[in-house]
């Protein structure tokens, strides 16, 4: 795709936490208009870190970040980025801070300059789309883990972003809710990147899947033939399991 039409373009990013080992080692990544991309990788491989770099919450030691064709470096550049790119945090407890659900979902739109009435309307609609009607006055810190995750997703969607970065959006959700989220995501006319360890979900909701290994990204196009010693739904779709190597019969049985 034409360089200028890339939504996100990272080049040769190096990053390490203060005093830590290097997490990203020359990573490059680009996301085009309307692309739906999955991101996999072992725990601690730097997936969350990558998202935080894109949002400007962390700064790379080396490398170039371009969002919507504009190079971004300083805090004020990222203010604009955050208006258009929505990040769903891995832990919903980080995302929710208002006392009631409605207030939390309306918080983003209000910051974008919407009127109170508009913001409330957007919040209600977003909640409805996620099947959360009736949750408006619930207290955020007394929701269940899965409910918190759905509400967090609503807070991000309510900002009507152009790009979504979803950090494990379906972890802790039941099968039915997961499927509803897949439907919602597929229906959205926007580009997204999401992190998940759930292969079935990945294959359904993305066009391509990247693997993050040893600080770099690789496209996982290659079909890896492997035998399965277990049964589950979606078995007809080709898929890989990250845990297949140390699969122990009877213990790590998929749904």
């Amino acid at each position: 795709m034409d360089e200028n039409h890339l939504l996100i373009n990272l080049k040769d990013i190096h990053f390490s936490y203060p005093g830590g080992r290097e997490v990203l080692k020359g990573l490059s990544f680009s996301l085009g208009q309307g692309e739906k991309v999955g991101l996999m990788g072992p725990n601690g491989s730097g997936k969350t870190t990558l998202f935080h770099l894109i949002m400007g919450l962390l700064k790379p030691q080396h490398g170039k970040i371009e969002i919507f064709g504009q190079p971004v470096e300083e805090e004020k550049d990222f203010v604009e980025v955050r208006r258009k790119v929505g990040l769903l945090f891995q832990d919903p407890d980080d995302q929710l801070f208002s006392p009631t659900v409605l207030e939390d979902v309306a918080f983003g739109p209000l910051n974008q300059g919407k009127s109170v009435e508009e913001a409330k309307e957007i919040a209600r609609e977003t909640l409805k789309a996620l099947g959360l009607s009736g949750f408006e006055q619930r207290v955020t810190y007394r929701l269940s883990g899965g409910e918190k995750r759905l509400v967090s997703l609503a807070t991000v969607l309510a900002m009507q972003p152009k790009v979504l970065l979803l950090d494990e959006p379906t972890t802790g959700l039941d099968q039915e809710t997961t499927e509803r989220i897949i439907e919602i995501l597929k229906g959205l006319k926007l580009a997204y990147v999401f992190i998940s360890h759930n292969m079935d979900f990945m294959l359904q909701a993305t066009d391509k899947i990247y693997g993050l290994l040893e600080g770099r990204l690789a496209l996982e196009e290659e079909m890896v033939p492997h035998t399965h010693v277990h049964v589950h739904g979606y078995g007809r779709l080709s898929h890989t399991h990250t845990t297949s190597d140390d699969f122990r019969p009877g213990i790590e049985r998929d749904k």
Binding site: H52, M55, L57, V79, R82, R83, G86, L87, F89, D91, D93, D94, Q95, F97, S98, P99, T100, L102, E103, A106, F107, G108, L110, N111, Q112, V116, A119, K120, Y141, T155, V156, M159
Partner: protein, 253 residues
């Protein structure tokens, strides 16, 4: 402590406009802090008690809070009786307790308890968030309201973090004893609590920035004044005025 248990209720007091609650709380505290005559203090006590009755608050919960506050007042009793000049009652080594000192400490104790009772009734029957919004309406500087709100919010975070950590200890069979192991575990607990709460608040801040936070909070619902609010606030103001009269005029000797 941060579950806002008293906010769940349906009494007249719970429905009372939080802006008025704050005003009454401020005026009452001021008048009482200046009161020194017993008849005025007694009227103050009646005032506080009638508020608590109106809110139908559980006696046990109130007592627990009073005990906590009086734990602090205990320290006053260690200092005050010995540091006010006057007629000596008894001596402890180089320290001499005076009648005036004891009188003063008693006065402070009674006064603070009455004020606390009124504040429990008035302020703990409103959610902290609504109090914050009422403060905004009352033109309290925004920075102060934010400080107030976030202090509360993070105390809540620390409490949740604490519960998580103690649960982690419990499920692995930890039982406190007087041993090095126990002390070390507690030391870790406190250390982890601080570090984790700090990390958490940092992540919450980042999440807020991601949603375009620029230091402003918005109110979704407006408070509406009813005739009940006006009636109640007039009654309460009369009550406070009566306390003032008892203190500053000689209606009762």
């Amino acid at each position: 402590m941060f579950n806002e248990v008293f906010t769940e209720g349906d009494s007249l007091l719970h429905k009372f406009d939080p802006r008025f609650k704050i005003v009454i709380a401020a005026v009452f505290t001021l008048v009482l802090a200046l009161s020194s005559r017993w008849c005025a203090l007694f009227a103050g006590l009646l005032f506080s008690l009638s508020i608590l009755v109106m809110g139908k608050l559980p006696v046990k919960g109130i007592c627990i809070r009073l005990v906590m506050v009086n734990g602090l007042i205990l320290f006053l009793w260690l200092l005050l009786p010995f540091s006010v000049r006057g007629e000596a009652i008894f001596s402890l080594g180089p320290l001499t307790a005076t009648r005036e000192g004891v009188r003063y400490a008693t006065l402070l104790t009674v006064r603070s308890n009455i004020i606390i009772l009124a504040l429990i009734g008035l302020l703990s029957t409103t959610t902290v968030f609504n109090l914050g919004r009422a403060m905004v309406d009352l033109k309290v500087p925004r920075k102060m309201v934010q400080l107030f709100f976030f202090t509360y919010r993070y105390l809540h975070v620390i409490q949740l973090e604490y519960e998580r950590l103690t649960n982690a200890l419990k499920i692995r069979g930890f039982q406190p004893k007087t041993s090095m192991h126990t002390y070390k575990t507690y030391a870790y607990l406190v250390g982890m609590l601080l570090v984790k709460s700090y990390d958490r608040s940092e992540r919450v801040r980042k999440a807020m920035i991601c949603r375009g936070f620029k230091g402003r909070f918005y109110n979704l619902t407006e408070f509406h004044l009813g005739y009940r609010d006006l009636l109640l606030v007039s009654l309460m103001l009369l009550g406070v005025a009566a306390i003032g009269l008892l203190q500053w005029t000689r209606i009762i000797y």
